[in-house]
Assembly symmetry: C2
Homo-oligomer: 257 residues x 2
């Protein structure tokens, strides 16, 4: 795996994004939002690590839309991080009155929280932000990573067993791209008529190429119109890209890895 210099990730420190960023670099810098990471990368200040898809909750829209908005930012690599959530606190279990976390973690721990009786649930921007807040609250706990619990001195930890496998895939983004990878990312706007998506993905189907991801996202400036985020695996050549372009109103090649 490549090791590079400055890498921005979704902070504060201890987040799952932080874990992902450690796979790619050593000079890691927290940012307060996914959009802020895109802005840094676009200003050539370094690379970014952003979540792109979770195995339960689906696509991370802010990331998909960032790749669409910043045409000169590419996907350069990918890593999967298992999401292991802990209920972590400084105080004893019985004294917890408030639980802080990101909405995804709250959703995952729903049954667990219900079994704990009447608690105030506070939504936060990230699980590591939750850990930070819980560390300053005498009756507070966080749903967060083990890393975040340690970072903020929340020494009472209980692992929440997920009902289903929970993995988040992160991608490294930057202003360069390799063309020699085996997995490819494209963003496509197709004509607004029956059969146009069928024609576009026919280009892949006819070559026996496997689509790994396809997500549609609204075009923010016109109502009920979309672009498609497509990832596929296999041998590609200029001819394939040309054929896809022929079926599209607009197409952005977003890198191979």
């Amino acid at each position: 795996m490549m090791k590079i210099s400055v890498v921005f990730y979704l902070g504060p420190p201890g987040s799952f994004s932080h874990e992902a960023a450690e796979r790619f670099g050593s000079d890691l810098k927290p940012e307060r939002s996914i959009s802020a990471i895109f802005k840094r990368v676009s200003m050539n200040e370094g690379y970014g690590v952003v979540p792109v898809e979770n195995s339960i909750e689906g696509p991370v829209n802010e990331t998909l839309d960032g790749l669409f908005r910043y045409e000169d930012i590419y996907v350069m690599a990918s890593v999967e991080i298992p999401i292991e959530i802990f209920l972590a606190s400084k105080c004893d279990r019985g004294r917890i009155r408030r639980v802080y976390s990101h909405p995804h973690a709250i959703a995952e721990a729903k049954d667990y929280l219900e079994s704990m009786g009447d608690l105030e649930v506070v939504r936060t921007n990230s699980t590591s932000e939750a850990a930070r807040l819980a560390s300053m609250d005498e009756a507070g706990a966080a749903l967060c990573s083990k890393k975040a619990a340690i970072e903020y001195g929340l020494s009472n930890m209980d692992r929440i067993d997920p009902a289903t496998p929970n993995i988040t895939r992160f991608v490294l983004i930057g202003r360069e791209y390799r063309k020699d990878g085996s997995r490819h990312v494209m963003l496509c706007i197709i004509p607004d008529r029956p059969g146009s998506l069928h024609s576009l993905i026919g280009v892949l189907a006819n070559r026996g190429i496997n689509m790994n991801m396809i997500y549609s996202r609204p075009l923010r400036d016109s109502v009920w119109k979309y672009y498609f985020y497509i990832e596929f695996s296999g041998e590609v050549d200029e001819d394939l890209f040309a054929s896809m372009k022929q079926q599209s109103v607009k197409i952005l090649y977003k890198g191979s890895f």
Copy 2:
């Protein structure tokens, strides 16, 4: 438009869901989550009104996944509600220190909030919940609907002009379905091999049928596998459904309207 008896919506009162629910019935009951609405409908206690898609933020995952999970709940009608967001408070504009709202509204009002200087932003479950909280906070404001502002006595109102058209489509859900509508909802799991999505939507393309929405959602119990939510418009018959079924591992017909 049909008028029916009990309709559950995402509360508290004054939400955009409340506005949508008024189009369908008169005995309206707030619920605390989309999942809770699905549970009520599945227990045959009434109908439900849930947001399915926003023109900026895309699909409402909890609704799509509810339709997948509750096989006996169908989409019966659809309505579009323009999302007009107001900054509303009891206190004077200059005294606002905290702004409450749903993350979508916060995202939309980002520029407006930044122009107001250093404010604490508190995320809530709904815009009407935000209005309720702001009404109890001497230095609080909410980003909410006009309806919610009035409901909670927030008489200082400023309309936030959206940068892009903002419309949410809501659907009426219930345990019956009509087969005679012009718009149709299907959920499909397709074989995990190259070309299978191409074959499925080929059934529609070959008949010149227009797809209005296609969203993929993770199958929560297996990693990186998906089901597709598909809406399309046009003439359908048993033969079309049979052909789609032939291309699918599992297919759920979710109603026409």
